[in-house]
Symmetry: C3
Subunit: 428 residues, 3 copies
């Protein structure tokens, strides 16, 4: 699913300064892999460098790198992308290397990294490495720490990963618009000591939101509050893959919020603790037992728990509107109103008209209402017992006693010691 | 105030599976007490089972149970209710056993509970036991963990209360609508060891919000942000009872948030700590001193403090709009505008027209403005020194040196060792 | 910049009770200094009383006091003010002693304080001392703890500062309106023991928000959500002074939130800990490492870090809309739309019309668009590398190795042991 575009041919990088890539230098740029799928990709087993237990990016992937004289070299391409939000809906977003969010960057504490950022957007951009302790000139605030990266230019960031933890990257240029369009990605820095805070499963995703009118494809970029698509890694239920764990696994889920409001993330079936923020690891003495962790905008949280109860456990934002897809605001309350006579009259005008909401809205989860093209139903999804009546920021953590897999010896798999892929929806 | 409806006659429960109540089985259902008052009820002294110090539900009550072969059996009825929000306003809500929120369920760590849920709503429902560690099939997510409970059916939930703590119940079916209509209730599981975290006073309530247009009775169910009634246990100031404590009491207040936004709950007069969440008890080493605790949606927080300062202490959400009742948005600012000439002209058309806001809006707290039927004034309430100018999520914690009570030996009272009822507004 | 208005002549204080100032007593009122500048003022070195290391109020000042028989006497005047939000915009607000927010009150643990509050507003007011443990009658909730302070009256508050910490003052009368108009101020109580939690730099500010239509001067006072001016101490970028520290300084920044929503405050370049809330000092065992702290409404947070990385570090609210100035909501997305033909047609009607947003909105940060009078550009500010494209709640923490100052021996300066003034924008 990863394709290798010939970046060099289309690049017109020119020498602008120490941190800019010259035309000559472009010939030595690392490859820029591109992802064409919104499915959860297999964990990326590190082919070189320090070993680590790779993460699973929910409906995403990890960017391959090359080693060069002791530096890990990554190549990000900022560009317009088409992202499938869920089957039946595609959005015109901006992202990196073919998808929004961009690929996860995985490193190890102490790694020296060099990240080439090529701009294929119609306007300038920068990249800020949120939570990573970098020299001031590498901090990525356009105008303050560096000049903007103009279209068709490539800028090089270089720094050392001083500490392990949970970070993200996003532009600090025309920031509101570029984040509203989907530009963001996850960074995980694994500890140098593999015995530090080990887990069996390590999932990551970013929390984002879009305002896309039903029937259209491009987000409105000035929305402050009234978003209508509440997504995890630019996916909405039922488009979000489940998180699969083996019974008894210690599981970590890392999340970062780049919307405009707090998201109280709730997990059924277990108690958990927050063990890591974008500022570092939380000492044991300071942790609270929780079932809902409130993640503020620009915050990252890793939660950890032992998957000690088998079954399909709901995992969602607890704001009820955020587990709905694009919905009609200002829909009048019809509870208690007998609409039969009204419908008869309307049907003379609009034969396919159906009443809705006279007894609540659960009907909408079960029936097929006519909706505009490229629009997800407000409530949807089916489980083993019928309609789940959810949307948006909802998926399940599936805890299974036995996980069958053909390719258990797959090397990319080896580092997830006990289990199966996150993208495996295993009903039994 | 508790009435005992003949549930059996109106129930048409039929056998659908292990967890469903058959028509025959319906004859053995526990009684379903119903509450017809919105006043704070006296603490429910446990008549059997393990002993505990009962909680006081603010403007609510605790559901009685029956013991059967070692199981505590409760009977919840999901149904439309009429709830008095404050004197002068009644809302058409959905709730349980006659009120919204439903009754508090009180148990003890280790209790085996069986909860019959009968559906008298016009649409299907389920119950999710938020924060309680239950088997997957009892988790209450419709479609995922169980079939929906159709109207007129009864479903039985069975599980053990594995740990003490602070929990709640609410539907996980047509969730946005059913919670917007008021379906929710509190669960307290007392520790098996009565010496664990003891307090003298233990209050509980849920934070909720409604969007009811002035002059109307039924909430709009699709509102995401612009709610106009900010309530505690479906009550608004001055309809919220005070929380009364004796000087020197150790007081716990447990709250859970089922609105669409964070509520920063602020208490005057003391510092407090959060000692419990819906995930468990917070270790001493992890606690912060606070005067305002931000409760996110789907979170529960117990705060504790020693009532060491006598007097009436304001207790409220710190978002200023949330201590107002239904208010006109987009009211223009009249500060600094001399309206005398304008009023003269308007009065020729509307004789009763009054100017407002030219010097601020404090007038609105003191004067009687004409408002639509079934609508609370925006700012209201009177204290010993005049108009309090509040609404919504506001009440007082009243700390008194001497609390006189005739019925101090009332058995229901015995377990609140030092004091008087929460619903006692003791001015002296 | 401090002027000394003759308060006595204009005061008509009359005897209303123990806590009211009589006409005779008015002659002995302390002076009421007034500030006419929105610039950060030099730290106020205590001329008497217990010594302490003074704070720097961002774009603000500390109120001088007089000692009288062992009491620190302050004089606050509630009054309409004109506040410069940033160069190019002035707002008609309500505040104290000439500015909004009012001056910072600095005391020492154990101080007995007497605060005279004179009301020059057109409506009544009170003052609540948020977080300070006061007797019930001094708590300032109008109607509940005291009668309202009518226009032209003076009320006296007296209490002891029982504990050190981070507090604020604001009205508890017509509260929504008076806070929407800017009435608030900071309180710092320094520890009696100067060796307790010492820092080199100690900055304070309040987080507030206004809804002022482009082209107008007075806030709309009923806004619940759609604010368009997101400010720190009633200042918006580029009007917010930088926070300057010397390399290696231990820095504390204290913030309090009096808006209607959470603000996740993000600092680049360092990790920090929250060390103090309005409830007290956070024990070391309970602290989390952070780069973004979410401050809820009615909460105060002090963050601390060592300024160990030189450079200009962005410091801002992480909600992208809050780093923009008054913006057009509902601006359509023009990304991907070729507007050349449309513009040609429009230009026949409106010659000065420009296209915008076809390739993003970064143009708006760099170009000069015609905007209404008294209105700040949506994105603005220039740094060493070009347009910064920010607004609202954005400034920088400037960490410098060498800070040159002529007046380093200034006594008001002496207590900031290692450095220079916060208002010094030192480019080198």
């Amino acid at each position: 699913m990863v394709t290798r575009r010939d970046f060099l041919r289309s690049s017109s990088a020119t020498l602008l300064g120490a941190a800019w890539v010259s035309k000559a230098g472009a010939a030595t740029l690392p490859e820029a892999p591109v992802m064409d799928s919104a499915a959860t990709q297999r964990p990326h087993l590190p082919p070189n460098g320090r070993p680590y237990n790779p993460v699973v990016t929910l409906n995403g992937w990890t960017l391959p790198w090359r080693m060069k004289n002791g530096w890990k070299e990554f190549h990000l391409i900022a560009e317009p992308v088409k992202r499938e939000i869920a089957p039946g809906m595609v959005a015109n977003l901006w992202g990196y290397n073919g998808q929004s969010p961009g690929p996860t960057l995985e490193c190890v504490e102490g790694d020296k990294v060099r990240i080439f950022v090529s701009n294929r957007l119609p306007e300038h951009t920068t990249v800020h490495w949120h939570g990573v302790l970098v020299p001031n000139g590498m901090d990525g605030v356009g105008g303050l720490n560096q000049p903007q990266i103009d279209p068709s230019k490539t800028f090089v960031y270089e720094f050392e990963m001083k500490k392990s933890g949970t970070f993200m990257y996003h532009p600090h240029a025309d920031e509101m618009l570029q984040m509203a369009m989907g530009m963001m990605g996850f960074i995980v820095v694994h500890p140098k000591n593999p015995g530090f805070m080990p887990v069996d499963r390590d999932f990551v995703f970013l929390i984002n939101a879009y305002d896309i009118d039903p029937g259209s494809y491009t987000p409105k970029v000035n929305t402050m509050l009234d978003f209508n698509l509440w997504t995890w890694n630019s996916r909405a239920f039922p488009g979000i893959d489940p998180l699969v764990a083996r019974l008894g696994d210690r599981v970590r889920i890392r999340m970062g919020n780049l919307t405009m409001t707090n998201h109280p993330i709730h997990l059924h079936g277990v108690d958990f603790e927050v063990t890591c923020t974008d500022g570092g690891w939380v000492p044991k003495s300071a942790r609270w037992p929780e079932v809902t962790t409130d993640i503020a905008v620009g915050q990252m949280r890793a939660i950890e728990f032992v998957a000690d109860a088998p079954g399909d456990w709901a995992f969602h934002c607890h704001k009820a509107h955020h587990t709905m897809n694009a919905m009609g605001h200002n829909v009048p309350t019809m509870i208690g109103v007998d609409q039969r006579k009204i419908v008869k009259k309307i049907n003379q005008l609009v034969p396919e008209y159906m009443t809705m909401g006279e007894k609540g809205m659960a009907d909408m989860g079960a029936m097929e209402m006519p909706i505009p093209e490229n629009t997800l139903p407000m409530m949807t999804g089916r489980g083993p017992y019928g309609a789940i009546e959810m949307g948006g920021m909802f998926t399940t953590v599936k805890v299974r006693k036995d996980l069958a897999r053909d390719d258990y010896k797959d090397p990319g798999w080896y580092r997830q010691p006990k289990g199966s892929a996150a993208y495996e929806w295993n009903e039994s």
